[in-house]
């Protein structure tokens, strides 16, 4: 449903993406891995329209969407939960959720906000609080819930587990799986490569602005190059990893 061909994005003179080709199939969870500064977030921002590529094309549902504005892309069905969550901290939790459904004009919005709050009870409890007063995990839930209210076809999640306690990280990954099984395609950027590969169908690994490895998630989990560089283990402990990976 999403296809990047030879995308090159620059920050001023500095080239951050050096010809990215990738494809996201409908209904799947695709993960994008790599070290800091590899260009993962840049890729996400380019897809979401926050950055314009100098070269290459982005296609969504067979339509060229390169260089559209973020609000136009949202209307086409691409929602981004950016790194660092980007909640509106001076607005209430409820207002944040309402902003998630900003472009929608249908009558179902109210009922759906209620539904989302049932799913994340903490958001209901705190609905009239300023969103800035929530904890990190709660803010991440809010950011994801808010993005879902735009009814995206493709959800871009940029490091949803960043800075969160392990228990909450597990929660977040469960939620991502749920979202996907409810029919939303997910493109997930993660530092936490093992967790991400466990729930993903397909993965891409980036290094200094290029994609160096791609493959089925299960294969990547056992790929010695990936294991050594991104899963933080020596290849010798591969056996144990395979066991865990199941």
């Amino acid at each position: 449903m999403l296809k990047l061909s030879n995308v090159e994005t620059y920050y001023g003179q500095i080239q951050a993406l050096k010809g990215i080709d990738m494809e996201v199939q409908e209904g799947k969870i695709i993960t994008l891995l790599g070290a800091n500064g590899a260009g993962k977030s840049t890729t996400m921002k380019t897809i979401a329209g926050l950055l314009n590529p100098k070269k290459g094309t982005v296609e969504f549902l067979g339509e060229k969407v390169t260089a559209l504005r973020p609000d136009q892309l949202l209307r086409k069905g691409i929602a981004l939960v950016p790194e660092g969550r980007a909640i509106l901290s001076s607005m209430t939790v409820l207002e944040n959720l309402e902003m998630g459904a900003y472009h929608r004009k249908d009558k179902a919005v109210k009922a759906e906000i209620e539904e989302v709050m049932q799913r994340f009870p903490i958001l209901k409890e705190r609905q009239s609080q300023m969103a800035g007063t929530l904890s990190g995990g709660q803010q991440q839930m809010l950011a994801i819930a808010r993005a879902l209210l735009s009814k995206p076809k493709l959800l871009l999640l940029d490091e949803p587990s960043m800075g969160l306690a392990p228990l909450i990280v597990a929660d977040i990954f469960n939620i991502i799986k749920e979202i996907n099984s409810a029919g939303t395609t997910v493109l997930l950027v993660e530092q936490n490569a093992k967790q991400a590969l466990k729930i993903a169908d397909y993965g891409y690994v980036m290094e200094t602005g290029k994609i160096i490895v791609e493959g089925n998630a299960a294969d990547l989990l056992t790929d010695p190059r990936i294991v050594e560089a991104y899963l933080g283990r020596k290849s010798t402990s591969e056996q144990e990893l395979v066991k865990e990976g199941n």
Partner: protein, 293 residues
């Protein structure tokens, strides 16, 4: 005497608040001080003088004319002097400030040219009518000004907190990028903000014309500086701060004139800023942490 001064202070303060709201809205969304706001306000006042004095229109029609003219000025300001500078590489963050100063000079000299240098009287049919309540006399003009300002302030607050466009404006003010990924067309919201701020300036222009019965091409600068003082006092970009700051300044100026030395009237705004900034550098309602931009 005290009650009369209180009413005078509230009238003046509510006008200041409206002027400051125009500054604070633009600052909140764009992060720049609109130095042309005072001159847009002055144009609004002249539209009031021309429509009521020369054309003989009723006051409500003068308000509408002023809103339309200053709204259009706001649109042109955004389209021609602010938008071309936004998001371009190599443009200093001071560039939009300078270009609004340019617009302010242009507007001041243009109206100097068209209307002449002197003060123009602003006549309203009820300018001299007052009502006596006990020993207190209140001018109808004061009531009209106060009511219009309060309605405007309440209207703006409700609009910002309850409507979709108002929430989009607040989201844009907090973070342009976040607002845009939530589907807000931030270009449109920015334009809308500058238009609303300018139209409020236009309304304030007529109110000041009515209050002081005089309009001149230079009035924009003085009131512009006071508006600026108020948003520093109340907290940059803060709507509540602009309202409260305006009332504080209006009341303290009035009481200083009544019970102290009227020569220091215009100094009080700036003395107050010095004190407030010493005690609360972020302004009365400002947040401690500066927004990251």
């Amino acid at each position: 005497m005290l009650l009369e001064q209180l009413i005078n202070g509230l009238t003046l303060g509510s006008i200041y608040a409206i002027v400051a709201l125009g500054f604070t809205l633009v600052f909140g969304v764009l992060g720049i001080i609109n130095m042309a706001h005072g001159e847009i306000f002055m144009v609004g006042a002249f539209v009031g003088v021309m429509t009521t004095g020369v054309l003989g229109w009723p006051l409500w029609l003068a308000f509408i004319a002023s809103i339309v003219v200053t709204g259009i000025l706001g649109y042109l300001l955004e389209r021609m002097t602010l938008r071309p500078l936004r998001g371009k590489k190599g443009v200093s963050h001071l560039a939009p400030l300078i270009s609004t100063i340019g617009v302010s000079i242009l507007l001041e000299n243009l109206s100097h040219h068209i209307f002449g240098a002197g003060n123009k009287p602003f006549r309203t049919e009820f300018a001299e009518i007052s009502i006596e309540i006990g020993s207190v006399s209140i001018y109808i003009v004061q009531i009209v000004i106060f009511v219009i300002s309060i309605v405007l302030m309440i209207g703006l607050s409700v609009w910002l907190s309850k409507t979709k466009a108002g929430k989009a404006l607040r989201a844009t003010a907090e973070n342009l990028e976040t607002a845009s990924i939530l589907g807000v067309n931030t270009k449109k919201i920015i334009t809308l903000t500058v238009i609303i701020a300018s139209a409020m300036g236009g309304i304030a222009g007529i109110l000041v014309g009515m209050a002081f019965n005089s309009v001149s091409p230079q009035m924009g600068l003085a009131i512009g500086l006071k508006g600026l003082a108020i948003i520093i006092l109340g907290g940059m970009g803060n709507v509540k701060g602009a309202m409260v700051g305006g009332l504080i300044l209006g009341l303290s100026e009035t009481f200083l004139v009544a019970y102290g030395d009227s020569g220091y009237r215009d100094a009080i705004a700036f003395i107050m800023i010095i004190f407030i900034l010493l005690l609360r550098p972020q302004g009365i309602f400002g947040s401690k942490i500066a927004e990251g931009r």
